[in-house]
């Protein structure tokens, strides 16, 4: 039998809990933990939770973004960025986490799932460095 992946377990938990109320949901979650124990996959519970989060986000059209910038961003800038992300990923809402990192020098770096849009000065300088080395 094929190996059960955390993604499959998360999908099963989601289906089992779909449309259930709190008390019933508690039972589903307890059973899910029992299943993880019986399959000796308790150590993968983080991955299962991550997969479950991804499934729920997909169903609810939620996009999670990590936005890094060199300086603190104003509220208008943050809203504008979130609006752009919504448009690009056809999402209904965006859950963003903002970070400040002086090493980026300027610009922003947006991470959504496994995609990165990097407009920081640090990245541009790195690209310029590579260009100057290879164009010799």
């Amino acid at each position: 039998m094929a190996k059960i992946s955390p993604k499959i377990i998360a999908e099963a938990i989601y289906r089992a809990g779909e449309g259930k109320h709190k008390a019933e949901l508690d039972v589903v979650l307890k059973n899910a933990v029992k299943l993880l124990v019986s399959k000796k996959m308790l150590s993968s519970s983080d991955l299962v939770l991550q997969s479950l989060q991804d499934i729920i986000d997909k169903k609810n059209k939620v996009v999670r973004a990590k936005i890094s910038s060199a300086k603190h961003l104003k509220k208008e800038d943050k809203d504008q960025l979130e609006e752009e992300i919504k448009k690009k990923y056809h999402a209904e809402s965006v859950e963003s986490v903002f970070f400040e990192n002086e090493e980026l020098l300027g610009g922003v770096r947006i991470e959504v799932k496994d995609e990165v849009i990097d407009t920081t000065y640090r990245n541009r300088l790195n690209q310029l460095e590579k260009f100057l080395i290879t164009s010799k």
């Binding site: 992946s5 955390p6 993604k7 991470e111 799932k113 496994d114 995609e115 990165v116 849009i117 990097d118 407009t119 541009r124 690209q127 310029l128 260009f131 100057l132 164009s135």
Partner: protein
């Protein structure tokens, strides 16, 4: 001076255009023995290049549900868990161009001969689909290897795939090197792919090719014994992509894979590390496809598609002469014939140690020139009969005249086919020698004098049978006039030789 540098830098910076695009990234989950397991990279393609933070390049080989198995082409000691991996969107490719000629490059096309960087015009993907049926032409042009036993009995044509198979130390590489050395002036580009060989052996080989002036038309691709198995795995594909570049220019290319046994072992190592299910001799199930897709790229194109060709000489090393092992049988079935080298013959002093009985060329005979076909037509049969009679003659001394004659002729044939290393013989010279042999001119020459006779005859006939040589060069066959001249030259030379 400093102004000039500043100006040059300023110009370069002005030329620099920043591209901002969404990049696919992943994270290294684990690294072991040149393999990295990476999460993320959702749209990754098979054989796509990825880059690691320290600039190392990897190739996606296993695409799984949540992760990808990447083979790292280079130093993997600095790659650690959690490193960010970027997808490039490009299939692994190698720089190709005329500037590669005379150079030694590694499996990803970087120079390793200390002669500076190589500027290439364009890049070719290392994995390409072989030429289709409509672009091909049947094999009908010879590849003159300069080795008498091959050119006469196992002829090879342009676009053919001829396997060189034998145990260790039987002269497989020597045969291939002789073939490269003989391509001088034959309008052929050679690509030598060294897989898992010692660097000292490669260096020796490079020096030998330089001495013979063969590096002027040769490219060496090397994945040495100290390189990772990932590099050994991709080296032949890099080699054939370089060969394809020249073929696309309408040129004829000779490619040597030395050797595919080590290539299969490297692929087995990678496959086992990637946890692919092992099959016979622990090789993965697609080891046949590994070699068939490589060798299928050797072909002869028709005029509409440039008319170039790739002739492949894959080499396979057997263990104790066992040609029925997994990899040898696979490659035998893929190729258009094999040259079988035997240890016994090698130690008997028959060099090149070609076992004429087990060797075959399935398509090469149509590529043989008419003159060679005429003189060498019966040679294989004569040799086979000689071997049979030789075994039979050991049991009794009373032999009839015709058997004795056959035995004597056989001894002389074997002697004629002997050839020292790095001394390829031109086709027209081979025709002269075989003519003298099959017409019985050598029957009364002592076996130990055959080599001297052969050498003298070539020198003498070149001066005295010019018409014959001219006819061979122009129409690949002699006329009565040329033949008469050659017979006279042989008779005259023999008379002076025997005095």
């Amino acid at each position: 001076m400093s102004n000039h540098i500043v100006e040059s830098l300023k110009k370069q910076i002005e030329d620099f255009k920043i591209e901002t695009k969404a990049e696919k990234v992943g994270k290294v989950l684990e690294v072991f023995d040149g393999i990295a397991k990476v999460s993320g990279l959702s749209d990754l393609k098979a054989s796509e290049m990825v880059t690691f933070p320290n600039g190392e390049v990897g190739v996606a080989l296993n695409l799984e549900e949540d992760s990808a198995g990447i083979i790292i082409l280079g130093d993997y000691s600095k790659i650690k868990e959690g490193d960010v991996v970027k997808a490039t969107g490009r299939i692994l490719e190698v720089g190709v161009g005329d500037s590669l000629i005379g150079r030694v490059v590694n499996a990803i096309g970087e120079p390793i001969d200390g002669k500076g960087s190589i500027k290439t015009d364009k890049t070719y993907p290392i994995e390409r689909v072989a030429s289709g049926v409509m672009s091909r032409l049947s094999v009908d042009q010879p590849v003159a290897t300069g080795i008498k036993a091959i050119d006469a009995i196992i002829p090879v044509g342009r676009g053919q795939r001829e396997l060189i198979i034998g145990d260790r130390q039987t002269g497989k590489t020597a045969l291939a090197i002789d073939a490269i050395l003989n391509q001088k002036g034959q309008n052929m580009i050679c690509v030598y792919v060294s897989i898992g060989q010692k660097d000292s052996k490669l260096r020796k080989l490079q020096v030998r090719l330089e001495e013979g002036g063969a590096m002027e038309y040769t490219v060496i691709v090397s994945a040495g014994a100290s390189d990772s198995s990932a590099l050994s795995y991709i080296a032949p594909y890099t080699g054939v992509s370089i060969a394809e570049y020249f073929m696309d220019q309408g040129k004829d290319v000779l490619i040597i894979y030395d050797d595919l046994s080590k290539h299969a072992v490297a692929y087995r190592e990678i496959s086992l590390l990637l946890r692919r299910p092992p099959g016979r001799e622990a090789y993965p199930g697609d080891v046949f496809y590994l070699h068939s897709r490589l060798l299928e790229r050797a072909c002869r194109r028709n005029e509409k598609y440039g008319g170039g060709s790739i002739t492949a000489f894959p080499i396979i090393e057997t263990q104790a002469g066992d040609i029925s092992a997994y990899i040898p049988t696979n490659v035998i079935s893929i190729t258009d014939g094999q040259i079988f080298l035997e240890t016994d013959l090698f130690y008997k002093g028959i060099r090149p140690a070609v076992n004429v009985g087990s060797s075959v060329s399935r398509v090469g005979s149509s590529a043989q020139i008419k003159a060679m076909k005429k003189v060498a037509g019966t040679l294989k049969l004569d040799l086979a009969q000689y071997r049979e009679l030789e075994a039979f003659a050991q049991f009794g001394s009373d032999l009839d005249e015709s058997t004795k004659r056959q035995l004597e002729r056989g001894k002389r044939s074997v002697e004629v086919l002997k050839q020292p290393q790095y001394s390829p013989v031109k086709t027209e010279h081979q025709v002269v020698v075989f003519y003298a042999l099959v017409k019985g001119f050598m029957d009364d020459i002592a076996v130990d004098k055959i080599k001297d006779f052969e050498k003298g005859l070539i020198d003498y006939s070149e001066r005295q049978a010019k018409t014959f040589y001219k006819e061979i060069a122009e129409s690949k066959m002699w006329t009565e006039k040329g033949e008469g001249e050659l017979v006279k030259a042989i008779t005259d030379f023999k008379a002076s030789f025997q005095k």
